[in-house]
């Protein structure tokens, strides 16, 4: 349109100008020229302005296009996100919308082994120490199922958490290993636990068998705790508000198992006090030391023994048992990263004094009948073990066990009523054992183990043991306890 107007003006000027040229004066010509010049300038300005506007419009379009591209990108991203959200929603809706949605965390431990023992496990004793029988036995020869563990745990509400750990024994009995509730953040560093639980004695007592570094527990745990001490009762722990770990614990319980005994009595049958101190050393080390004192009152705590004539008699102890345990553990991994290699050093020292009365032949099957006298003992024992993960998934370990029975003072023997030979289990002896272990963990949830041991628990009955063991964890992820 602009061009057309311009053209028209030019044509008009061309037609008009020559025709009138003759008639017009020089001055008029100059004026006309000026007017045309003016006209031309006007149009040029307008064209320039219009061109500018065109340019601007073009720019705007380009920007709009850019915005559109970006919007599309954002939309694509949003779409991807909504797809993710959708898949999350699908995941969420896949959860059972029923009562079972609040099912506790369930985990199962499968455990089994093959044992090769040079001595008959039925005759197993730890010479110089009282507990006898299945609690301390090294287990069956040949293939056997270990105890299978089934654990349930969940928060009860915002105050409490409940845990039940049941064991299915290979002889088809079901037991309650632990069954307790504990408080969730009682504040001020306090935690209260009630029910049946492994007592906070030394280091290893409250660790479940599947998390042990060896197939079996230490000789000291067998001799002083009958393997592992779980009691029915209460536990209160207090954690100090310091950056160094310092914890005090107090337990009161029934004292139902060795070194206590079940008894028909009100009140408290066992108390356990403990103190633990721990921290870090360097960039890759962590340590924990503990001291605990378990006091139990046994009533007719029985055991079987052979008298001087070789007759099996049942004896029983009634009295006070006082056990001190000092424990220490040091774990180390290069720069604290234990995935490649790591090392663990663990040791515990036990010292127990007992005083009370010993009843001989409680069933009165020998001619002498039931006799009773005093018993006083001070016994000790310790073990030390080291486990080294030398490459991912592979660990090797060594353990040394040692017990000192010292002499047990028996009133019946000192008075001459019976001979020391009538109490062979209390004859002085220092049992010891060397154990080597190699295990392979294909993943965090499975472990295969080979263990060989040379055990001298009884005079003249050296037991060479070989164990092959598997431990499989199913279900809820286990805790990485220290």
């Amino acid at each position: 349109m602009i061009k057309q107007t311009l053209l028209a003006a030019a044509v008009t000027a061309a037609l008009v100008a020559p025709g009138t040229a003759l008639a017009v004066t020089e001055a008029e010509m100059a004026e006309l020229r000026q007017q045309v010049q003016q006209l031309k300038r006007d149009y040029e300005q307008r064209i320039e302005a219009l061109e500018k506007r065109l340019q601007q419009a073009e720019n705007t379009t380009r920007q709009t296009e850019d915005v559109a591209v970006r919007t599309a990108e954002v939309a694509a991203k949003a779409e991807a996100r909504s797809a993710q959200a959708e898949s999350a929603a699908v995941q969420a809706s896949a959860r059972p919308a029923s009562e079972s949605a609040f099912n506790p965390a369930v985990s199962v431990i499968l455990n089994g082994r093959y044992g090769n023992l040079s001595q008959d496990p039925a005759g197993y004793r730890i010479a110089g120490f009282a507990p006898t029988g299945s609690d301390i036995s090294p287990g069956k020869r040949g293939f056997s199922l270990g105890e299978s563990e089934i654990a349930f745990a969940a928060n009860v509400d915002h105050y409490f958490r409940g845990t039940l750990i049941a064991t299915v024994q290979p002889d088809d009995t079901i037991g309650v290993e632990e069954g307790y509730f504990q408080t969730l953040g009682l504040s001020h560093g306090l935690t209260l636990k009630a029910g049946r639980f492994y007592a906070n004695i030394g280091y290893q007592n409250d660790i479940h068998a599947h998390a042990w570094d060896f197939t079996d527990t230490s000789l000291a745990s067998r001799a002083f705790l009958g393997g592992q001490f779980a009691d029915d009762g209460l536990q209160l722990k207090w954690l100090a508000p310091t950056d160094t770990f310092f914890e005090l614990g107090a337990e009161a319980g029934r004292g139902r198992s060795f070194p206590g005994s079940d008894r028909d009595k009100n009140g408290v049958g066992s108390t356990n006090l403990s103190a633990r101190l721990g921290g870090d050393v360097g960039s890759g080390g962590a340590w924990l030391v503990g001291l605990s004192n378990l006091r139990t009152t046994a009533r007719n705590r029985s055991y079987n023994d052979l008298n001087a004539l070789g007759t099996q008699v049942g004896n029983s102890f009634s009295g006070a048992s006082n056990l001190w345990v000092l424990s220490g553990i040091l774990k180390w991994a290069p720069k604290g990263n234990d995935t490649q290699t790591n090392f663990k050093l663990q040791g515990e020292y036990f010292r127990r004094t007992e005083s009370g009365s010993l009843a001989y032949d409680t069933a009165a099957i020998t001619p002498a009948g039931t006799q009773s006298g005093s018993l006083n003992s001070a016994q000790s024992g310790w073990y030390m073990q080291g486990v080294y993960q030398f490459m991912p998934r592979w660990r090797a370990g060594y353990r040394y066990d040692r017990l000192n029975s010292d002499s047990v003072k028996l009133g019946l023997v000192e008075a001459g009523t019976l001979a020391a030979a009538d109490f062979p289990i209390y004859s002085r002896y220092n049992p010891k054992r060397n154990t080597l272990m190699l295990d392979f963990s294909p993943s965090e949830f499975s472990r295969l183990r080979l263990q060989v041991a040379d055990e001298n628990s009884q005079p003249g009955a050296r037991d060479k043991q070989v164990f092959l063991q598997y431990i499989m964890s199913l279900g809820a992820h286990g805790a990485h306890n220290f």
């Binding site: 996100r81 993710q84 959200a85 898949s87 999350a88 995941q91 915002h158 958490r161 504990q182 969730l184 953040g185 009682l186 504040s187 001020h188 560093g189 306090l190 935690t191 722990k237 207090w238 954690l239 100090a240 508000p241 310091t242 950056d243 160094t244 770990f245 310092f246 914890e247 633990r276 101190l277 721990g278 921290g279 870090d280 960039s283 962590a286 340590w287 924990l288 774990k331 720069k335 604290g336 990263n337 234990d338 995935t339 490649q340 991912p392 998934r393 294909p442 993943s443 965090e444 949830f445 199913l474 992820h477 286990g478 805790a479 990485h480 306890n481 220290f482």
Partner: protein, 305 residues
């Protein structure tokens, strides 16, 4: 004289007040499960918080034990900031249960799982341990996408203000300042990282999913046969064969991984292996969150050439 008195007053007054009203003036104690959240808390709180990081960049956050020093720290913490999504499943719950500290139990303002506030990737469609150590909540290694850091920063800033209302204005100002600096840095990283788009990788563990999503990189395999299972010779041999047929551009492993498997694969296939800091402290240059991404990009760009 006047100056001396004023200086004395300035120094003494806070000390006296601190003694009189310790809880109000004491720094917020932050327990961070991983260094990235520790660094973020420090950015947002400055001197108003004392921050403790439970792990270092050289540790695998899956495989930590509830050791005594950590129990002691959780007992005194006002705020626990962790990744969540079951990354700390083995050790955080035992720590919380043994702490006797009600302020940091799940559900309390003092307990925060960072992964709850970002869009999680790789949420498994089926759950079975035969698939390795997978996490029902999705891939928990969220910190290598800076957009996630920004999201978590907003929540963390608000949490700090909730726990310590007296200093709410400080946290708000620091959060705004951090986000502005972070936004600027992200724009810079986006430009710098342009050549990384489409880069193909072999990873060690599936811990770079968020980094890949951000930069548009693609994972072609992992050194671990299954998540959480260390590399096996059989799997590495298989990987060598695959990489010879269709090579990836780079082999990536993180500061806490052993370099052996990556170097083995790199030697056989001539694909360059690159160590990434993974989190704050994972390399000399990854001193803070900005350094973490600067160094991560620099290392990737060096192999992408």
């Amino acid at each position: 004289m006047n100056v001396a008195i004023r200086r004395l007053f300035c120094c003494m007054l806070p000390a006296v007040l601190a003694l009189l009203a310790q809880p109000a003036l004491a720094a917020v104690k932050v327990f961070a499960c991983e260094p990235e959240w520790g660094a973020l808390a420090q950015e947002l709180a400055g001197d108003k918080a004392s921050v403790f990081s439970a792990t270092t960049a050289l540790q695998d956050a899956h495989h930590i034990q509830a050791k005594p020093s950590l129990i002691a720290r959780v007992r005194n913490a006002d705020l626990v900031v962790c990744t969540g999504s079951e990354l700390e499943i083995g050790w955080l719950p035992p720590l919380l249960r043994q702490s006797g500290n009600e302020r940091i139990q799940p559900g309390a303002p003092g307990y925060m799982e960072a992964s709850q506030f970002v869009t999680r990737l790789e949420i498994p469609k089926s759950l079975d341990r035969s698939l390795g150590d997978i996490h029902p909540g999705g891939n928990p290694h969220i910190q290598l996408d800076p957009r996630n850091i920004a999201k978590v920063a907003q929540v963390l800033g608000a949490r700090l203000a909730q726990i310590d209302p007296a200093n709410a204005a400080v946290y708000a100002a620091r959060t705004t300042d951090f986000l502005a600096r972070w936004d600027a840095a992200m724009r810079r990283w986006d430009t710098e990282a342009a050549p990384l788009k489409g880069l193909t990788l072999v990873v060690y563990h599936k811990d770079s999913a968020y980094l890949n999503a951000w930069l548009g990189m693609r994972e072609m395999g992992s050194l671990e046969p299954k998540p959480g299972v260390p590399p096996t010779t059989a799997h590495l041999a298989d990987l060598v064969a695959r990489m010879q047929a269709a090579p990836a551009r780079a082999i990536v492993y993180m500061a806490y991984n052993s370099p052996q498997a990556a170097e083995f694969l790199s030697e056989r296939t001539k694909i360059p292996a690159v160590m990434l800091p993974f989190t704050v402290g994972g390399s000399d240059k990854a001193k803070d969150l900005f350094g973490l991404f600067d160094d991560t990009l620099a290392r990737l760009l060096a192999v992408a050439k």
